[in-house]
Symmetry: C2
Subunit: 412 residues, 2 copies
């Protein structure tokens, strides 16, 4: 479609999305280019369309030196270009995965090259130097790269915590301070804090967002979805709560998630971007996302998509995921207990892959370097927070007491 046609659909059927589009977002549309023309000729006996090297029946002439590394993936899926929005059966499989958790108005998920790619698509379609991004602080440092370095989108922070929980009032106050279009990003369980809201907080966040006058873009960064290790914590995604609660005249919600952590496939770079818009509005937004994909990476890596598609159909997948989550839960408890035993008080945490420990009386960067130099311990400092992030996802539970003891020697 033309950009104008897509924009008209959105104006009619999802006014918030239409109002939120950035200049790039307004221009974005799949031209009647080679992929579309090739699709129109799909039924032809003689195809001289797309520039792929095949045998004449669409079977890729993959080189054995490459192909032997993917022995059981469908060659048409793994070696040919994936569609810009991703392998269709993979999009449908992920949609079923979302719906199985909670029904909500949604588009078909668009396949992205990992979570960051989903976030950068949101950033590019909807934010700009005049549309600020609200973020609970401290936040993952790459948000600055994605939103500000590339696009000039200003970040407005508000304190993540109020007392022992999420700062719902701070979110409401931050939203109230902006006139006109704005975006807010909620990452639960959070990096770097390892915090996910309680069920009551999730409900309160939903009410605050639903009441915002808009135009408001809400980005749910669900990278660590499912990694929740305490009772009473809301284990689902905020996306379904929000998508069911918001008014499409005022608010658009985007869910960004993927195989990276959920399927423990970090190198694969398979993510998904789903909009809180069904029908033609959802299709229009997916087409805009596909157009930006076409303009940045053309399409996402196909072998990884094919592997995720196959894994989603595997009868043992759920048990495998459960096993990894149990192993992480054991590490989580080991870290929680070791911090307590060493009188180190982290920010409240209950999930994800991290705990964030404030550093008192010294510079966290100095503490980090001293831990590397003198104690053989690697940690992360988060810009803006004088604190050390301890990742428990890459260290076995039995080593965690020693890790924390060494950290305590420097910052205790």
């Amino acid at each position: 479609m033309t950009p104008q046609a897509l924009n008209e659909i959105l104006a009619a059927e999802h006014p918030a999305a239409a109002a939120l589009l950035s200049p790039v977002g307004r221009r974005a549309a799949m031209p009647l280019g080679i992929p579309q023309q090739a699709a129109q000729a799909a039924g032809c006996a003689l195809k001289a369309t797309i520039g792929e090297i095949t045998d004449g029946d669409g079977v890729p002439l993959a080189l054995p030196s490459v192909a032997r590394h993917f022995p059981d993936l469908d060659p048409k899926q793994a070696f040919r270009y994936a569609p810009q929005a991703g392998l269709t059966p993979l999009r449908e499989a992920w949609a079923r995965h979302l719906d199985a958790e909670a029904a909500a108005p949604r588009s078909l998920p668009v396949v992205t090259g990992g979570i960051t790619h989903g976030l950068s698509l949101c950033a590019e379609l909807f934010t700009s130097p005049t549309v600020p991004l609200l973020l609970p602080e401290p936040y993952w440092d790459n948000y600055e790269t994605i939103f500000t370095m590339r696009l000039g989108t200003p970040i407005r922070g508000f304190p993540f915590y109020a007392g022992g929980g999420f700062n719902v009032k701070g979110l409401a106050a931050a939203l109230a301070q902006v006139q006109g279009p704005q975006a807010v990003l909620l990452n639960f369980p959070a990096n770097p804090t390892g915090y996910a809201p309680t069920a009551a907080e999730a409900q309160a966040i939903t009410e605050v967002i639903a009441a915002a006058p808009g135009p408001l873009l809400v980005i749910c960064d669900d990278a660590y979805h499912g990694l929740v290790f305490e009772d009473g914590v809301y284990a689902g995604s905020l996306f379904a709560l929000l998508a069911n609660a918001v008014d499409p005249a005022r608010t658009l919600v985007c869910r960004v998630d993927g195989a990276t952590k959920e399927l423990v496939f970090f190198g694969g770079r398979v993510g998904f971007l789903t909009f809180s818009a069904s029908g033609r509005a959802g299709e229009a937004l997916a087409e805009k996302a596909a157009a930006v994909i076409r303009a940045t990476v053309s399409s996402c890596s196909a072998p990884a998509q094919a592997a995720v598609l196959a894994a989603l159909a595997s009868p043992t997948l759920a048990a495998e995921q459960h096993q990894v989550r149990e192993r992480l839960a054991t590490r989580y408890r080991a870290l929680r207990d070791a911090l307590l035993a060493n009188s180190l008080e982290p920010y409240p945490f209950n999930g994800g892959c991290f705990a964030l420990v404030p550093v008192m009386g010294m510079d966290a960067e100095e503490a980090r370097h001293r831990l590397i130099r003198d104690h053989g311990v690697g940690t992360i400092t988060v810009p803006g927070a004088n604190a050390l992030r301890l990742a428990f996802c890459g260290i076995e539970a039995e080593d965690i007491p020693e890790l924390v003891a060494r950290v305590a020697r420097v910052i205790g």
Copy 2:
């Protein structure tokens, strides 16, 4: 490094690159974020750095349902995050592949998610609404998406052909019309024309570019590198010719190439971006590219990188590539002969995957639709050129006479 430090290195050691940087390009730098801090802790016994789920020794806890699809790839390469600039041994292997063809001042190649990604990195680092892109016309339609839709970079076309060959004078005239920074993109063998310059034209192009006052960015889109099927055609990349000829005070050359066509791995999305800058300037440019990768896709898909790395070490790779090229050469000759036999005169072509046939006396879009509807033939029309692009890479040689006969029935 900080953006300032990188910009100072470029100002001192590659003034053209410094002068060409877009606002995003000037801001681009890898912050002291999680990947860098994790690298600093590489030698630590206890690592609580990066948010990857591993066994404590860096071995990824890949799920069997995913991992079984990559049975012989190194799990650390395939399942963990690749570095932002790509797997280091893959970058080094591609550098050897470039040097084996022709020595030239160059950076270490940066791994990209395919050719389009390499182009979009060039676009983002160096072009903007005030830095036009010169393109021989007709050109691949996706350049408009990459450069103009996303970034507002204006495209200034000039006629691809003069007589039976490349329009070197037109290139010189187009370059002379722009004051200040500009970019030019040269795609040989070309999509959609299937033309690569003769050796004499390659030399003349090099002289024109080397004489340009700059600041000038030259992007060599080498997607179809190596697919040359006539004698007397320059079979190498212009990159080495140009990189050896230009003055770094005035001109920066970027080579964008990859495994997509060269290793017939369309779905893999493994490309490379190489700058005509060695030493610290090359490292600074590679870091800026890596920063934009971090901000858009975080890192490129690792299983495909690992497979390309393994393939580049395969003793049978060259023979496999030769076999595919011979098969394409047979199709090329079949197409050339069939066009002649049917009195269809294409634009001059000698390589790549395409021939472009002008349509006289009717609209090419109408011809394309009639071919689909009435003749079961899929072709591509190129916006701006009233012509049909015939791809010979996806159709067997024995079917090509029938294909061309049907095309001739509509446009002959």
